[in-house]
Symmetry: C2
Subunit: 561 residues, 2 copies
């Protein structure tokens, strides 16, 4: 976006009524307050308790990193240097690397060095890290308001924790997808935050159900209205669902509208109170953004697809489902980006994008727990992305990851198609897809002589379905729901999910039981017998070990192929 | 300590009544709970959302690190390879380094590698990191009970925050040194924790005053009795004070005794309640442990001192003032160790040592904020300490740091002795030292013809003292208290401390105003006009720019030498 376009964007609105009591009570750390003097040239600095960088034992890092085009782009016809598919057949060549260096003392102040990155600093990190966040966010997410800020955090778990502490008081409610990331639950619940499930469909959180939850909210029964949403909008964990643009617009609109709607109602009842606005913030936890694999195309049709040989990084970026930031004209989104899935989880680094008021309070929180992200992580990653690669090559790297995860997603879904008779669901089950195909898997005929696809689907439709799933369009997970097990005899206290989980684990396959992700604790028996299958890291042998049906117990079993 | 000796130690006592409501309400993260299955050999892992390490861009780190004997030991007569004193005179040779390597995939499972260190893992970090913590803690601190646990954290700020959250409810009180680390205050206060100052003397927190605070505590007026102490026992920040063994034993005894004492009182009043024991935990925040410089010896006498040429690391370790762990026979100490001062602050890594119950709850907290410390930090530091150096050379490195900081401390105090007339305080002022000499500085005579030391002290004794200080025996700081400024005209709202601070900053010297560290907010006017001067990172020119007196304003001024 041009400078002119940015300057014509609106500024963020005043959302200070969302700050928690904890956030409001944080002072600026008085030691950090000295930082502004420390930068003054010629000052003799005997105030801060800073160790001398000459006493840091690490002088230079020489880093062998993969070249940015190590992995083939999505649908590429040419082979990657050492793609996962190659390694399946034991024919992987040695990875091609290039070496770059980070010094303790850089030759120029523009370059990152360890004397600074490993020193105490502001919780926002080095100037080089901050510059990268800003440039990347502008280029990739193009926020719809002018005064957004980026701020380092130590991974999205740290980011989420800081958000809950900054925007929620004990007793507050937060709306979430009905199945969600368990660490978010583990963080919020001990803080006294109630997690309110909103139903999901094939596109993640359903706007219709969000509207229902908010419009039927009764503060006398349910407590203070929710003002915060926590959502994983792309490749959602655990359901794998991805919110499209229309869904995001619908949800954003509700988040804005519930401020004015509630004010209107209150006004008409003469109980107007500006401190009780009930507009909603959106915490957008988006670690899978670049793992957008797109629509699954069955194996037989993929060969005919056009390969992506486009070199312009903007074509790739524009092909991705946008972030909420793109629609956030008021500054009510707190976006969390992470290096965990695009560099490595152990980076323990990522960043917030949000309005300046929130960024300042989130930084104060950071000063009292982890301070800046690890200086080795800052040094290695900033130098790799901004110097060794540069932005264009970094985006090429992200395309390679997209390609890799697409291959894995395809292989996973291909395998399900191969091992089972798979047919599109119809009726209510199909509507759940919200535009995406819901597939139902049936136990395969021992001998299958039907060749016409429509004939085949007709043939299996009358049988008992084994499980159903939506081929995911992003992320790392396939979410499968079982339709079996009505005849299974459970031990006392055992759920059907845990019965199946244990059976599968005993057979040598570990998949994540859906109950781990269930927000609604009031439902003791499972609403659905669901599992999350991860295709991100499985060895190739894993993909061929899949669930089949035990004709005796009517329960899924693992078979090795 | 031998295996046999360890097994004869008592086990930690039940201190579960210290857990906060937050800590008690934390569940085991259900995702982490899968970890135990993941390790089972032969299992096909499609449960965890783990990225594949082949997709991490970093293949190998080649690290140039200083050799472990880069810095001379304390009082060593031979020159170090490139000591700070050398660099003062521009004659520093290039640092001598050796190169070591961390690979993505290690040849043996014993060795740390990035495939594991950069992957999601338990919040306790890699097995290699855990093994190092355990071995080092046993060797260096020799805890006095059998079942202690070490657990990774992301630096002592993270560690302190987790402690407050784990042991304090909102409204609780924590006892601290009357001047303390401001980040601890910034962390605790927004959590609703009241910080209760205990007077300090030359050995840090005064046991007598701790006893006074606890024995006169009135729950009706002051709220729930304090059950937690936060202390920086060595090279305290900001006062530089170090608690000796006797002081630690006296304080530990009070912490134990206030449990039984209070139970006894309650019992006699027939209001016995086991949930209201008022024994105290000790949070031992000890980043300066290895910067124990020992007693300051004036320059003229140092030349005659014996140099430390002892090679046995145990002689060095035994020369250090022990940790509280050495006396902790019940498991009521939560010790915080950090790499910030011995490797670099940007390591963002350190460890807790505490009883198993507390370690488990502190780990649960870690899972919901930062998870494990950064994997690059783990890789680089573990490989350096355990493989490149080994324990003996690592201890030699620590001796070098001790030597460096001793040189800096000596140079700082030497400079004060040179620029001012310095004499030992007498009477009440001297008693404050608690065994350490309190020195008073006077403006130097323009021409000083007195040569005999006793004559000189006599001559200056009648003049107005400028400031007083105790030459520190550990850490990075000299704490100076001004005796001047009674005639200074202050602006409205200005304190004398800030007046002096601004004057000095305008002259080009930045030292930290004592008010930043003041725990007792009820005292608006300063009890004392004090400053913290750091000698850890000042350039050599900084040491010669010191405070002198402006004869007109009777206020300190900076002079450049």
């Amino acid at each position: 976006m041009s400078e002119e376009k940015v300057s014509s964007l609106p500024k963020s609105i005043d959302l200070s009524h969302h700050l928690s009591n904890l956030a409001k009570s944080r002072n600026v750390s008085p030691l950090k307050d000295l930082q502004k003097y420390i930068q003054r040239p010629g000052l003799i600095q005997m105030a801060g308790g800073l160790p001398d960088p000459t006493l840091f034992p690490i002088e230079t890092l020489h880093i062998d990193a993969l070249v940015s085009n190590s992995f083939a782009k999505k649908n590429a016809k040419s082979s990657s240097f050492f793609g996962w598919i190659w390694s399946m057949f034991g024919g992987a060549p040695a990875p091609k690397t290039e070496t770059y260096t980070v010094n303790k003392f850089a030759a120029t102040p523009e370059e990152i060095d360890m004397a600074h990155a490993l020193q105490y600093s502001s919780a926002g990190g080095t100037t080089q890290l901050q510059a990268f966040f800003r440039e990347f966010t502008q280029k990739v997410y193009t926020p719809a308001y002018a005064d957004w800020i980026t701020l380092a955090h130590c991974g999205n778990t740290d980011g989420t924790t800081r958000c809950f502490a900054t925007f929620c008081n004990p007793g507050d409610s937060v709306v979430v997808e009905e199945w969600t990331y368990p660490s978010a639950l583990s963080t919020a619940r001990p803080m006294g935050i109630k997690m309110v499930p909103v139903k999901v469909d094939g596109q993640g959180m359903a706007a219709v159900d969000l509207e229902r939850v908010l419009s039927t909210w009764d503060e006398n029964v349910q407590g203070r209205r929710p003002r915060v949403m926590y959502t994983v909008p792309i490749g959602q964990n655990p359901t794998g669902a991805t919110m499209g643009t229309e869904r995001k617009l619908a949800i954003y609109d509700i988040c804005v509208r519930y401020g004015t709607l509630f004010l209107f109602i209150n006004f008409s009842l003469s109980t107007f109170s500006s401190s009780e606005k009930s507009d909603m913030l959106i915490i957008e936890d988006d670690p899978y953004y670049f793992l957008q694999e797109g629509t699954y195309v069955p194996k037989s049709l993929r060969a005919k697809m056009q390969s992506q040989n486009e070199d312009d990084p903007m074509v790739f970026l524009n092909s991705l489902t946008p972030s909420y930031l793109k629609f956030d004209y008021q500054g009510r989104v707190i976006r969390l980006d992470s290096f965990s899935k695009i560099i490595a989880p152990g980076s323990r680094m990522g960043w917030f994008t949000c309005n300046p008021l929130f960024a300042e309070r989130l930084e104060r929180h950071g000063e009292t727990n982890t301070q800046a992200p690890c200086g080795f992580s800052q040094s290695i990653i900033v130098q790799l992305i901004t110097k060794q690669w540069g932005m264009k090559k970094f985006i090429r790297w992200l395309q390679g990851l997209q390609g890799e995860y697409t291959s894995r997603r395809d292989f996973m879904v291909d395998t399900l198609y191969e091992l089972f008779d798979v047919a599109p669901a119809t009726g209510e089950a199909a509507a759940f897809g919200a535009g995406l195909p819901v597939m139902t898997a049936y136990l395969k005929e021992p001998t299958n002589t039907i060749t016409s696809i429509s004939e085949k689907y007709k043939a299996v439709a009358s049988k008992t379905p084994l499980f159903s799933f939506i081929p995911p369009t992003a992320g790392m997970f396939v979410w499968i729901k079982f339709h079996v097990g009505q005849n299974v005899i459970l031990k006392p206290g055992e759920t059907l999910t845990m019965h199946i989980f244990t059976d599968l684990a005993e057979e040598g396959l570990l998949i994540a039981p859906g109950t781990m992700f269930n927000v609604d604790e009031s439902i003791i028996l499972e609403r659905e017998v669901a599992f999350r299958i991860s295709f991100s890291s499985g060895t190739h042998t894993g993909y061929k070990v899949l669930i089949t049906n035990d004709s005796k117990s009517k329960c899924p079993r693992v078979s090795r192929f």
